[in-house]
């Protein structure tokens, strides 16, 4: 894999006519769309930890976007990045990163975001018999011990919107659920699509007890670009187009929405 980055390349001459095409010299590898995602990639965002398979919301979105921008399916190259690599300074070996990054104002200082393409609801997850299973208000919810996963916007949500103090913070979703099963925490809050998948497939013992209102600070999911990446405009165009086409809605229905109605707690 080439270590060269877009910024390192000598600016020979502005090939303005190539910009906005698949051979755009501003691409990490002209002719290819290089996309980063997490390791592992979580379902239902990307199914089976296999982005190339095209099954899942995020990779589905990427392939639709690539097609819109003019790339063939084979021209989409996936790389794996840790959370820290995604946000660290310095040259990035990809064009953009997609792993449920929430767009917030304070993050904009160090990365560039695309437009928001999906705004998930939050779900309360708990296990049968816990103190908050029948909670009807934020006040009820506050009675339990809460946990959250680092790197997500869930922690600030629990602290700032629900108003819980002393939230335990785990390294990954697996840890959070492990603590839930061990009864070390009573509840956690995660994005509804993830919650649906986990409670259905990985941890059937856990249940979604409610959905919660949106966080005004959390603008929703966006693609992450290296600060100053000139591709943002072009790719935003593509995103807008596929949103307008209804592709995103279709993917949402396919992967991110459950069939059962869930109780809403909003105060």
């Amino acid at each position: 894999k080439s270590e060269q980055s877009a910024a390192d390349k000598p600016v020979v001459e502005k090939k303005a006519d190539l910009e906005g095409t698949i051979n755009d010299p501003r691409l990490y590898t002209p002719g290819k769309l290089t996309v980063a995602t997490g390791e592992p990639a979580y379902p239902p965002w990307i199914m089976d930890d296999n982005p190339e398979g095209g099954v899942g919301f995020e990779n589905g979105l990427v392939y639709a976007l690539a097609e819109k921008l003019g790339f063939a399916k084979e021209d989409v190259v996936w790389v794996r990045q840790t959370f820290d690599e995604g946000i660290a300074p310095g040259p990035k070996p990809y064009d953009f990163n997609i792993q449920q990054f929430s767009v917030t104002e304070e993050r904009r200082k160090f990365v560039d975001f695309s437009i928001v393409y999906y705004k998930p609801q939050k779900a309360v997850i708990t296990i049968p018999g816990s103190d908050i299973i029948d909670a009807e208000s934020f006040a009820d919810l506050k009675k339990g011990n809460w946990g959250a996963t680092i790197g997500t916007a869930d922690l600030s949500y629990i602290e700032n919107i629900i108003g819980v103090k002393d939230v335990a913070v785990f390294n990954d979703v697996a840890g959070t659920f492990q603590a839930l099963l061990a009864k070390q925490i009573d509840a956690t809050c995660i994005e509804l699509p993830t919650a649906l998948f986990i409670t259905f497939v990985q941890v059937p013992d856990a249940i979604i007890s409610a959905v919660l209102p949106n966080d005004p600070n959390d603008l929703g999911h966006g693609l992450v670009f290296e600060k100053g990446n000139p591709l943002v405009g072009w790719i935003n165009e593509g995103l807008k187009a596929i949103i307008a086409d209804g592709v995103v809605d279709k993917l949402t229905k396919e992967y991110l929405i459950g069939d059962q109605p869930i109780r809403v707690i909003d105060k």
């Binding site: 946000i87 061990a182 070390q184």
Partner: protein, 281 residues
């Protein structure tokens, strides 16, 4: 050029020349200046520096996040102090078991060797997960559920294996003659260990023990996989939210404030102790 011991001969009958007096100071200052200049030239002049500075060394962020990190640091300190005490004792028992001989003590000796090899060889993360998630998950009545408790226990188990080996090397470095003398005076094995061997052993390995103590304080961060919010975790939470790493500097500063005085202080006492024993009654 002269190693620490023996003390270098004082040049009797000669006073220090101006060269000897001011040379070192001049060297020190010019070294510092040179290094600073090189860093300026190479790092700060880099076009990327402002960005790095902002993401890693942002003073506003450090100040903003400080109260939270300080709160987390309280956990580091609390776990640290309790763990230090337990480790000091448990590791000593392990080292003692290891040094036992004679057929009747084989089980204890073997236990100690297996314990040390196994626990030391396992990644601490695994131990923390097994203890911290596994034990409470068993829901065995009568056992505590706190993940902090079980996680700390995992850390203690792990560090005790290391500390036991340090003790052992200290014990082994004491000369055989000292054992003979203690035995000949009629001291029991335990008395020999406590009065004759350990004081010399611990003195010999003190820096290694301090190493472990310093590492442990920071390794309390491992408990964060269990949801414990120590100083490092608080800093990471901030980083995850804002993508700004300067919060880690805030936690680092706290660790330094705790460990550097500790290191300097023990050095000072070690030196005084040696001087006391070797010179001037």
């Amino acid at each position: 050029m002269s190693l620490k011991r023996p003390a270098p001969p004082r040049r009797a009958g000669r006073t220090l020349s101006a060269k000897d007096k001011y040379g070192p100071t001049i060297i020190s200052i010019s070294t510092v200046v040179a290094v600073t200049l090189i860093i300026r030239a190479v790092v700060i002049r880099s076009s990327q520096w402002p960005r790095i500075k902002d993401q890693f060394f942002n003073l506003d962020v450090i100040i903003e996040v400080f109260p939270k990190v300080l709160h987390g640091f309280g956990i580091n300190m609390a776990v640290w102090i309790v763990a230090l005490v337990v480790i000091a004792i448990w590791a000593l028992i392990l080292a003692f078991f290891r040094s036992l001989n004679g057929p009747w003590f084989t089980p204890l000796k073997v236990f100690s060797i297996v314990y040390i090899d196994l626990i030391r060889g396992l990644p601490s993360l695994l131990l923390v997960l097994l203890f911290g998630f596994g034990m409470p998950a068993l829901r065995i009545p009568g056992l505590p559920k706190s993940s902090l408790f079980w996680g700390a226990l995992a850390m203690i188990s792990s560090y005790s294996a290391y500390a036991a080996e340090v003790y052992r090397s200290g014990i082994d470095s004491v000369h055989t003659g000292q054992y003979l003398a203690a035995k000949a005076l009629g001291l029991s094995q335990v008395q020999t260990l406590f009065h004759c061997i350990l004081p010399q052993a611990i003195r010999n390995v003190f820096p290694s023990l301090l190493n472990l103590a310093v590492a442990l304080q920071k390794d309390v961060a491992l408990l964060s996989v269990l949801g414990v919010r120590d100083a490092v975790r608080e800093a990471q939470i901030y980083t995850a939210r804002t993508f700004n790493y300067s919060s880690l500097i805030a936690s680092a500063a706290l660790f330094l404030v705790a460990t550097i005085p500790l290191a300097r202080l023990t050095d000072y006492f070690t030196k005084k102790d040696r001087q006391r024993r070797l010179q001037g009654a």
